[in-house]
């Protein structure tokens, strides 16, 4: 049983500008999976004009357009210490795409402009020559950060970005990319202590119920089983679509290589 007195507070950071790709769904999924276990949860939207308070349990950042990412970068600088303090004192951060990039040291945009990140993660991102668009399949990295339950099964998502992210020495990716691009060098995202960064939309926690539970357990501890057969069916269906696309791409690349 999950003995938890207080309501889970899920912060959706800058939904008006980091909300272009449906990533607000991650907040909804965390709240719902908590509620289905009798844990009260509320979603708190934090707009870019407001400071981020450090008292929440989750901070979720999503993907956005270029102009939006500039504004998000400036606003995050002002709330940098609050966010880092929240994370150091037990809060979970889940960041996707543009929001993920801003957790690193910097993001160099396609027009050459340099956005300063908050440096929570030792990594830098540059805009690549091409946009990576399509299904992604990731094998989660084994890591003590997953907790006693261990890594989740294969992760599925949809990427749509031009970023190429270089992780610093010793920084662990979320996993190894089996299909798709991710960070652009074999891995995708970042897995830290109570920290998940990724390029995957879908939203990623809607498509990956076990991953969603790992993230939830980072705050509430071990979770009781619930009937999530529907969510698991979606996960399996997305994985088979992702693998089929992977095989198709592999075949196309082979044909191209042959000339």
């Amino acid at each position: 049983m999950n003995a938890r007195e207080s309501t889970l507070r899920i912060g959706l950071v800058y939904p008006e500008i980091l909300g272009t790709y449906g990533d607000r769904g991650n907040a909804l999924i965390i709240a719902q999976r908590a509620q289905r276990r009798g844990i009260a949860a509320e979603i708190i939207e934090i707009y870019a004009r407001e400071p981020i308070s450090s008292g929440l349990d989750f901070y979720l950042l999503g993907g956005g357009e270029d102009d939006s990412q500039h504004i998000a970068a400036r606003s995050l600088q002002e709330s940098r210490s609050a966010l880092i303090e929240a994370h150091n004192t037990g809060a979970v951060i889940v960041a996707v795409c543009a929001g993920f990039q801003l957790l690193g040291h910097s993001y160099e945009a396609a027009d050459g402009s340099l956005l300063e990140g908050i440096g929570l993660i030792d990594m830098i991102t540059r805009a690549g020559a091409n946009r990576s668009i399509g299904e992604v399949v990731i094998e989660a990295e084994p890591s003590p950060n997953w907790g006693t339950a261990g890594p989740p099964p294969l992760i599925t998502g949809f990427e749509n970005h031009g970023g190429r992210t270089q992780l610093g020495q010793g920084v662990v990716p979320l996993g190894q990319v089996k299909v798709g691009t991710g960070n652009g060098n074999g891995g995708d995202g970042v897995l830290g202590e109570r920290l998940l960064g990724t390029y995957l939309h879908g939203p990623v926690l809607a498509r990956n119920p076990v991953l969603a539970d790992r993230v939830l357990s980072w705050v509430v501890g071990p979770l009781e089983e619930i009937d999530d057969s529907l969510e698991r069916r979606l996960h399996d269906e997305c994985l088979s679509r992702g693998s089929a696309q992977g095989v198709k791409r592999w075949w196309q690349n082979r044909m191209l290589a042959r000339g």
Binding site: I17, T20, L28, I71, N160, L234
Partner: protein, 421 residues
Amino acid sequence: MTSLRTRVAISSGRMAGAVSRLTGRGQGATISGRVMNAIAPNLLRDSAQSQKVIIVSSTNGKTTTTRLLVDALAESDFPIITNATGANLASGIAPVLAGAKRTGLAILEVDERVVSKVIDPLNPVLLVLGNLSRDQLDRYGEVHAVSAAWRKLFLAKPSLAVIANSSDPNIVWAASPGTVTWVALGRSWREDANTCPSCGRLLEWTNDSYDCPIDNGGCGFTQPEAVAHLKFSEDKNESATLLIQETSHELRLALPGKWNLANAALAVVAANSFGVTPKQAIALMAAVTNVAGRNMKLPLGDGRNAQVLLAKNPAGWTEVLQYLSPRSTQVVVAVNARVADGKDTSWLYDVPYQLLRGHSVAAAGERCLDVAVRLNAEDLNPIIDSDPIAAARRLKGDDITIVASYTQFSALYDKYRKSKP
């Protein structure tokens, strides 16, 4: 007259498009355009020469606005040609123009991405621009890019006449260098207009208007003064008042929802510029009940009919859900994720499906599991069936609405046409 070269170009282009679709390489529009262009490079230009072209473009509502404008102008003296089937790429427009027998008006719906490519050859007398919002982000890219591309057209040709929606910042940014008649349509979807299209700062919204105040470090970009204003009535959005200068006109349609009243308002102002009075235009448009299947009554095969609506993206869905929410209808949400729908279904989480609480719902389409998980996240507990008609038959009652994404909708429209004697 249609030359042999034109006919060969069109049929070869169509064939190349069909081959592209059949082999799964693409949708066929690009290749068919290229083939046509290779055989008859001036096809569009030559065939458009004898016509006064009106281009209608928008993320949502272009097919309906085009149709309403065609009907509004039906009793004028101009012979009219139009791409009524929604074939809105260069390859779809060319055959319509080439088939014209007389000089007249060509009222053409044009895909947002294609406007820049066809504007020179078509040399339009008028553009009608409705709204821009996120749609098929995997294929089309982000909204600001479309707005910026349109703006370039007007910067290059400031004399270009345009009737445009002043309530949409992305439309205003695009059209303002042109010769504009602004129509204030109001707007319920703002999620793609939170930043200033001019300087990139956060835009300030108050009720229905917006600006980027200079005293706050902004650039002064603001909502322009409109010559026509649309005000919705409170009676479940079934009617509206269109105020043109000092005169108000009551707008009532057979087509449902606020979004169609907005489409109609643009069409009234556009028709007015060709000498049709608002009163005449409104009367003619009121008779339209079904536009290329939108709002069709589809037999379910069990004695009941379902109303079928198209919704392709979060802005369109938001309008449709606001319309359905106060009504006692059961709802099928039918979504595919083919190329023409956008392959990423993440956008389902940008749609306020919580508006369906209290309705019985079903998740349908090739992506019915994505839909079901989304609806479940709002505790809606849907029936799940990939076939939208089978899903509708499992819902109780006589009032059933199927809301379908683009390719699902097209399949249902094919069924509807076959069901008609």
